[in-house]
Symmetry: C2
Subunit: 417 residues, 2 copies
């Protein structure tokens, strides 16, 4: 008998039929003798509908009231899912965030979980109930209702799994698991059986939006055994854990890419002390998230440096850079769009010196110029023109030996004979 935490997103419970299918999956585990805790998001469009309603009354509603409004989405889901389980003839109890003992910091819209006291969940499990918990929400110590922000239901599931010392935390999504790259771009992308937390973190941050980075971080910190799998099939998913078995001895596990990127260059900056701190301090305090930062060497007391931001932040970032010109004198600020950041990710990269060279060679062979490079222990990212995305991702996928033998034949079944 195991204690299993299952998490279902909004599309998994978006209709009566889907809700019933989820209930059936939960029943399978219960009937097999497991203790089951289920975290569920708001159904389909509920959250968007509520936001639309609020905007009619207040263009800029107070965050506290917005949390009060939006948390009903998950409350509807848990009640209905619990009824669906009861209809199968099994015991089920639903719990809001505060009822599940989830305390958060006193911030609205993006609170972090500060504590979980899951006494009521344990009591329900011990009495033979499935415990259905509202994702994405908690309450402050003073009893105000809060939300955890984007990806909050993943975080609820992982945090509960940690607090309950669950044997596994299964995240059900509309994909089969984590792929070596986006299967829409590379047909022979491979589903990974295992991946490390760190690799997952890099992939999640880089746009493979299956699992929220905060949830992965939480799982890593509390060593939660995480599995990403499909809510529509019975296929095994991808296991996310501390150490993952390397497949085929590949140093690179996956290839991520992100087109939501703009480059800003500040040229001819007076190389006075604290220049970087001033520039990036001003950007941070205005809420602009900077990703890659590259500084080339100085020349005649002047430096050039470049950084990337999301497309939506570009104009704001340029405005901020222009406003601080008096403090940080420079010759010119330029910017560029239509870019893509392509990253190779793998825990084995650090001990594998040839990995980077192979990436540069693969890109060079295609006659593509690299605009920015940045590295971490388990990631290497390049920024190139967006028009090269498919070619480069495919070339890298092949170069690192990630193509599946089976799906590499794109012709059809008869070709495989």
């Amino acid at each position: 008998m195991s204690l299993i935490v299952m998490k279902f997103g909004g599309s998994s419970v978006g209709s009566t039929e889907r809700m019933q299918r989820v209930a059936r999956r939960i029943a399978d585990y219960k009937e097999a003798g497991h203790k089951v805790v289920v975290v569920v998001s708001a159904m389909g469009d509920t959250t968007d509908d509520l936001i639309d309603q609020s905007k009619l009354l207040n263009a800029n509603p107070p965050a506290r009231e917005m949390d009060m409004l939006l948390t009903v989405g998950e409350q509807i889901s848990i009640a209905l899912l619990s009824m669906a389980i009861d209809a199968i003839g099994l015991k089920s109890k639903s719990f809001t965030g505060w009822q599940a003992g989830i305390t958060t910091e006193a911030v609205h819209g993006k609170a972090r979980i500060s504590d979980i006291q899951p006494d009521r969940i344990f009591a329900a499990l011990d009495s033979g109930y499935a415990a259905i918990v509202a994702g994405f929400q908690g309450a402050t110590e003073d009893g105000d209702i809060t939300t955890l922000g984007r990806g909050g239901s993943d975080t609820t599931a992982v945090a509960l799994a940690a607090a309950l010392k669950a044997d596994v935390c299964e995240i059900y999504t509309d994909v089969d698991g984590i792929y070596s790259t986006d299967p829409r771009v590379v047909k022979c992308a491979r589903k990974l059986d295992e991946i490390t937390y760190d690799e997952m973190l890099e992939l999640a941050n880089l746009g493979a939006a299956v699992l929220h980075p905060r949830a992965v971080e939480y799982a890593k910190n509390y060593n939660v055994n995480l599995v990403v799998r499909s809510s529509f099939t019975q296929n095994e998913g991808t296991s996310v854990k501390e150490e993952a078995v390397m497949e085929q001895g590949n140093a690179v596990r996956g290839i991520a890419f992100d087109k939501n990127v703009a480059r800003i260059s500040i040229l001819g900056v007076e190389d006075i002390p604290g220049v970087l701190a001033k520039v990036f301090g001003a950007l941070a305090s205005n809420g602009v998230d900077v990703d890659i930062i590259v500084q080339s060497g100085t020349q005649d007391g002047k430096a050039d440096f470049a950084f990337t931001v999301t497309l939506t932040d570009k104009d704001r970032a340029i405005g901020i850079v222009e406003r601080i010109r008096a403090e940080v004198p420079y010759r010119e600020v330029t910017s560029e769009e239509n870019l893509v950041k392509v990253s190779i990710v793998g825990a084995g990269m650090v001990s594998n010196p040839g990995v980077a060279a192979k990436m540069f060679a693969a890109i060079y062979e295609q006659g593509i110029s690299i605009k920015l490079v940045t590295t971490s222990e388990i990631r290497l990212s390049v920024v190139i023109g967006a028009e090269h995305t498919q070619d480069v991702v495919r070339a890298l996928h092949t170069a690192y030996g990630l193509d599946t033998a089976e799906q590499a034949f794109v012709g059809g079944p008869q070709d495989r004979r």
Copy 2:
């Protein structure tokens, strides 16, 4: 500066425009320097929509989960109303039932309030906020979410007014106040300025469904100054209080009628001890509410008695009576539909012996036979054929001097000159 509790029902907040109108009314009080607590119901069809959704998953959903589901209706209302008040530029905080400190007994679907600890409401008021509280809901001591059943929002408002020692509790509805009888039946029905709790209780129980009887009872027990008024006009409403000034020295305040009534007669009952207890005990334990009970004298050791139930309970009541025939021997059970119970209500009736005679005379003059009579200190009810409803209610309204002079002319403006 007063502390005012305002209660708005579902139709008062059923659209964006109505929500904004309610916010404006709250703002008027706040701007006049009052402390304002607002109790609000679910918007328009929200509750019915949620019930429909649940039925698709479970024909007989657990009551605990139904409460979890339905309470989101009020939670949506409080959040949106709070946002509408904020949009006017005034401070507002919403509270669910449990946040408002409303504890109920551990029953789902129709819990009674057992305690209110309104510390957070007081704190919000002291900090200059309007406190917007979800009606119809509370939580058990163990933290399970409960609902108060039909008319629950009225009860929430009155109970909060009592706990907060509010100066007044205003119930906003779609009518101007309490009328001497249904204005759809009697055009010259008069709006009452004042009415006693007891009179209101009799009228509420008798089908003038403006205020829920439980709320009136609560108001009476805690001496809450209650006002019923329209959410669509600025007209003064009807004040419900311990002692009401009698208008024109009328002993009768209002005339109620209720067509949801069936008569059941048990004839030739062996007059053995405990007969009544056995019959009505069996009915009560099967959930049949009995209203009027009349027993005529015994003859030859046999008694006839009759009672009324709602139309929906009629067949079930007859079934129960037939099942206990072995225990309570009787000759025959009969029943009758198409009836109306007409009641005159007035706190002054008890000290006014001619009141009953006048009623019987008015009915007799129309050649109508009375089938049952029952009295309380402040009420006298007769059951007659439903086809006489309009004639009898109009005749009584005139006989007791309740017609308004102005509206008694039904011809049109030119007739009044």
